[in-house]
């Protein structure tokens, strides 16, 4: 792989930003669904990591026939009432589009309902998550369910990437430092979504060599693995491979540990069954 293709610039849809990032992979933030056609016409399929849209609810989201093969990623606050969603279901379930929701109690339930209707869903599981028991229940449904359903992210990522997974699943959220570089409308570059929000930028797309992407990637990797260097917290947790949070909780029991261990075990089981052709 060319080194440029290891890095993904997350950019708002502006022609000049697409030009400046040519040769790299890009995840393009669309301000509205109307931009999707223009994005897919401007960026080559090989360079397009995904098109990201942010919205309130799934109700009213329409996936046009010609978008079905596009890697669309929606970040939504909630799903909304099922009766509002059902008219759009053929488009939603028949496309590559995936719909991410914060992992609240209500959204965890929605993920299960939508998954059973073959809609590709995902939950944003991070530091702020607290519904670990409901997530574990959903994981049991997702990994052990006997009836066809659409797998929920990040569970699917952990099952399928299990054998080579060492850094969790946060690349699904475009939020892995050293891999994803987030840009604003002026081309300023930050290491994360959060850093960009705080305008904590490392440089500009106008000076790509000055960004030292390889150096940033190495530093980020070291930073991520640092908690594993001490014999405590994450280093002594067997779920470290699948956990994307990586905050060593040496002074108190880690609230994520039980769920992340269940996730690891589910991935082990899924892979064991696949190896045994079950």
């Amino acid at each position: 792989m060319k080194s440029e293709m290891k890095y993904v610039f997350v950019i708002p849809f502006k022609k000049e930003l697409v030009e400046k990032t040519r040769g790299f992979k890009v995840a393009v933030r669309a301000a509205e669904a109307g931009e999707i056609d223009r994005i897919s016409a401007s960026v080559s399929p090989k360079a397009l990591h995904c098109i990201e849209l942010v919205g309130e609810s799934l109700a009213g989201v329409e996936i046009k026939k010609e978008w079905r093969k596009l890697p669309l990623v929606f970040r939504l606050e909630k799903a909304g009432p099922l009766l509002d969603i059902i008219p759009s279901l053929p488009g939603l379930s028949g496309s590559m589009a995936r719909f991410y929701f914060p992992a609240t109690r209500e959204n965890i339930t929605s993920a299960r309902v939508l998954s059973s209707l073959m809609v590709k869903t995902g939950l944003l599981i991070g530091e702020e998550t607290s519904e670990w028991e409901a997530l574990e229940d959903l994981l049991a449904y997702d990994s052990c369910g006997k009836v066809a359903h659409s797998a929920v992210e990040p569970f699917l990522r952990v099952y399928t990437g299990y054998k080579s997974l060492h850094d969790g699943y946060d690349e699904l959220y475009l939020d892995r430092e050293g891999v994803f570089f987030h840009c604003d409308e002026s081309g300023n570059v930050a290491l994360s979504r959060e850093a960009l929000r705080k305008k904590d930028c490392i440089g500009s797309l106008d000076d790509l060599p000055g960004l030292d992407l390889d150096g940033r990637a190495l530093a980020a990797r070291v930073e991520r693995r640092l908690p594993l260097a001490k014999f405590e917290g994450c280093a002594v947790c067997r779920a470290w491979r699948v956990c994307a949070v990586r905050k060593s909780e040496k002074d108190r029991p880690c609230p994520r540990k039980k769920f992340m261990t269940a996730l690891l075990e589910a991935a082990e089981e899924v892979n064991r069954n696949a190896d045994d052709n079950i």
Partner: protein, 333 residues
């Protein structure tokens, strides 16, 4: 076929209520969770069951009632809702949306509306029922639970004509609920009830309304001439056996049917499959009938029972009699 109780809450307080024991022992606060509906849909689908039957209490009181119906239709189930017909404008608006969203819903969604005689019902209740029938009548099969021997079916004929209901009447006979005091038709009273039903058969045939007898009517209460008339009136669909239903509560506890709701309750999650659950409750019925074949002593030697044409009346009566004669110990309930 299992019945799913969406909620324990009800808007009526019928003296014969089958669900009384179940509702008395719960505070009415429970409603079926989405997670459990998905679980049941998966379990039913895997077991080859194609129908969702929503009961209560009053199932339309469930806050996600319309979404539950829409979800079930979307999963490919047909849906039957057992309702009083008393529902809020919000629920009716939700149902309108269901019909709009699923253009073929009039085929897959039906209501079994248990109607009480307006003569003995509060006028406000009757008004709401008639509003419901006026709007959704084409999908409604009227039902009537017989708990008094002097019942009248006249109002049902009127409703069928006025509101264009489906031309069929489900007639249920009320049974004793194990360890509970409800109004029901006693075994000696049943004969009088069947005679009164037979009195309506000429009219049923004339007006092309098919009676559908619910479980618990013994075959021997009808003579051959009456059975012939019933066969014609019901378009050849009459049965006198126990359907071995299973009820599932909002807390996912299962039991054989309302009259037996106090015995051998198990969580749905204890069963590995739909088939295992259905077999478990079918076997419960068989266990009881091994001790006592039917509601009469003569049932044990009855040829029609042996041939599977009669169930020997409702198990609830058998249990009551066994309880009265201190023979329940044999059943390991």
């Amino acid at each position: 076929m299992p019945n799913i109780l969406l909620t324990q809450k009800c808007v009526r307080s019928c003296p014969y209520c089958f669900a009384r024991k179940q509702m008395n022992e719960n505070d009415g606060g429970d409603t079926l969770k989405w997670e459990d509906l998905v679980y049941l849909a998966d379990m039913f689908a895997q077991g080859g069951c194609k129908e969702m039957r929503f009961l209560g209490g009053e199932p339309t009181l469930h806050p996600a009632f319309s979404d539950f119906v829409a979800y079930s239709l979307q999963r490919g189930f047909s849906v039957t809702v057992f309702t009083s017909g008393i529902m809020s404008d919000k629920v009716k608006a939700g149902l309108r949306r269901v019909y709009k969203t699923f253009p073929g819903a009039d085929k897959d969604l039906s209501f079994l509306c248990n109607l009480n005689d307006p003569e003995v019902s509060p006028p406000e209740e009757t008004k709401k029922v008639e509003e419901f029938l006026g709007e959704f009548g084409a999908s409604v099969m009227p039902g009537f639970n017989i708990y008094r021997k002097d019942f009248s079916l006249d109002f049902l004929f009127r409703y069928i004509e006025n509101y264009k209901l489906r031309r069929s009447i489900r007639l249920g006979i009320t049974h004793p609920i194990f360890k509970e005091n409800n109004s029901y038709i006693s075994i000696p009273g049943m004969k009088e009830v069947t005679e009164r039903i037979m009195g309506y058969v000429p009219r049923l045939i004339k007006e092309d309304v098919a009676p559908s007898l619910d479980c618990g009517f013994p075959l021997c209460h009808f003579d051959d001439a009456q059975l012939g008339l019933l066969y014609k009136a019901s378009r050849g669909t009459g049965k006198f056996t126990c359907g071995s239903p299973v009820d599932i509560g909002p807390d996912m506890m299962a039991w054989a049917c309302f009259p037996l709701s106090g015995i051998r309750r198990r969580s749905v999650y204890e069963f590995d499959s739909y088939r295992e659950m259905m077999d478990y409750y079918r076997d419960l019925g068989r266990d009881i009938r091994k001790e006592s074949a039917g509601i009469y002593e003569k049932c044990a030697a009855c040829d029609w029972l042996k041939r599977g044409l009669c169930g020997g009346g409702c198990t609830a009566h058998i249990l009551k009699e066994m309880d009265n004669s201190n023979r329940l110990g044999a059943l390991n309930l």
